[in-house]
């Protein structure tokens, strides 16, 4: 026996996914912010602390994490531009294609960043 009818089959459709990926990227970026401020705060405590931390950031694991961060930023930026276009410009067809392009571009940007970093 199921208590409620199933009514969310549209979730997972491409434009719905685009909206959710955009939203999750925002949440993750917001979660990262305190960490970012913490590192900036290290600079106030003296050069040695900051240098120590920056040295640690050269490790491959951190580089990988940084790439993830760039990916999130690119997703959120391109997703935001996509919304601005939808809401402020004359309507254009091919919304699904636009969402896919934005996703591909975000992955591309993160890829270039990773290659440049290695």
């Amino acid at each position: 026996m199921s208590a409620r009818p199933h009514t969310t089959g549209y979730r997972g459709d491409r434009l719905w996914l685009a909206a959710m990926v955009h939203r999750v990227s925002g949440v993750l970026l917001a979660a990262f912010l305190p960490l970012h401020f913490l590192v900036l705060g290290l600079a106030l405590e003296g050069e040695a602390q900051l240098d120590g931390f920056l040295h640690w950031t050269k490790s491959p694991l951190v580089k990988f994490a940084e790439t993830g961060l760039v990916l999130l930023l690119a997703i959120h930026l391109l997703g935001g531009i996509r919304l601005l276009v939808i809401e402020n410009m004359p309507w254009r067809e091919g919304q699904k294609r636009m969402a896919t392009l934005a996703a591909a571009a975000a992955v591309g940007i993160a890829g270039i960043f990773l290659i440049a970093l290695l």
Partner: protein
């Protein structure tokens, strides 16, 4: 056609109100069969107590919308061939509305919000004045026409996660109607309408998910209409016309 050679569809139909369960039926497959045909077959041949709603059967009245395999659809014009998955159909009531019984959702909240969004025409002339001449080519009329063919089926309302998450949100259909009237030069109620559109339940709730636009059976675009309202309410606010 002999019984043995018939292709059958496995149909699961929601029974009950808020609490309930799916009930299984086996329904013969027909050419050009619609989902409403399937529901009607069940009611005529398997269980006459099945509650559902329809009237015109040709996509005009907007009363037959249900959830079919997870997505809201107008059932009278949704061919089984378009939505069937692995020989199966799961049919339930429209989402985001109270269920009266089985497949009949209570549309009252949907229409209440239509009123809250000031979705009724406010005449600027009396019947004693001459008819206003409107050019069908004018930009305003074309914007009004683009949103006007709504049949109040509630499909967009059931597909909108923002309605699901914030029960006060007017939803795509009411705001699409509002946008049609905002562009109607004969209407005299725009200040109240824009104030309603900018209120708590109004257009600024919309996240432009576009599920409404993807599923509207009339091919309307509530997302674009709501985007228009977002811009127009902002202009009205900057001009001090609404607070």
């Amino acid at each position: 056609m002999s019984g043995a050679a018939e292709t059958m569809i496995d149909v699961r139909v929601w029974r009950g109100a808020g609490e309930g369960e799916y009930q299984a039926f086996t329904v013969p497959r027909r050419d050009s069969q619609t989902v409403l045909d399937v529901v009607t077959w069940i009611q005529r041949h398997a269980d006459p107590t099945l509650a559902y709603r329809f009237a015109c059967r040709v996509g005009v009245c907007g009363s037959c919308a249900m959830t079919v395999n997870g997505r809201p659809r107008w059932t009278c014009r949704t061919h089984v061939s378009k939505v069937i998955e692995d020989g199966r159909l799961e049919i339930g009531p429209l989402a985001n509305l109270p269920v009266i019984r089985d497949l009949a959702a209570d549309m009252a909240p949907f229409f209440d919000k239509w009123q809250k969004a000031e979705g009724t025409f406010v005449p600027s002339r009396t019947r004693h004045e001459p008819l206003e001449r409107i050019s069908p080519e004018s930009a305003e009329r074309q914007a009004a026409d683009a949103a006007i063919e709504c049949i109040n089926c509630g499909v967009c309302y059931a597909a909108c996660d923002t309605v699901r998450w914030s029960p006060d949100y007017f939803g795509p259909a009411a705001l699409n109607r509002s946008w049609s009237l905002v562009n109607d030069v004969r209407d005299a109620g725009n200040l109240e309408r824009l104030a309603a559109a900018a209120s708590n339940g109004g257009c600024h709730n919309c996240h432009s998910h576009q599920s409404c636009e993807q599923l509207c059976p009339k091919g309307l675009n509530p997302t674009a209409s709501i985007a228009g309202l977002k811009r127009r309410t902002m202009q009205a606010y900057i001009r001090g016309e609404i607070t």
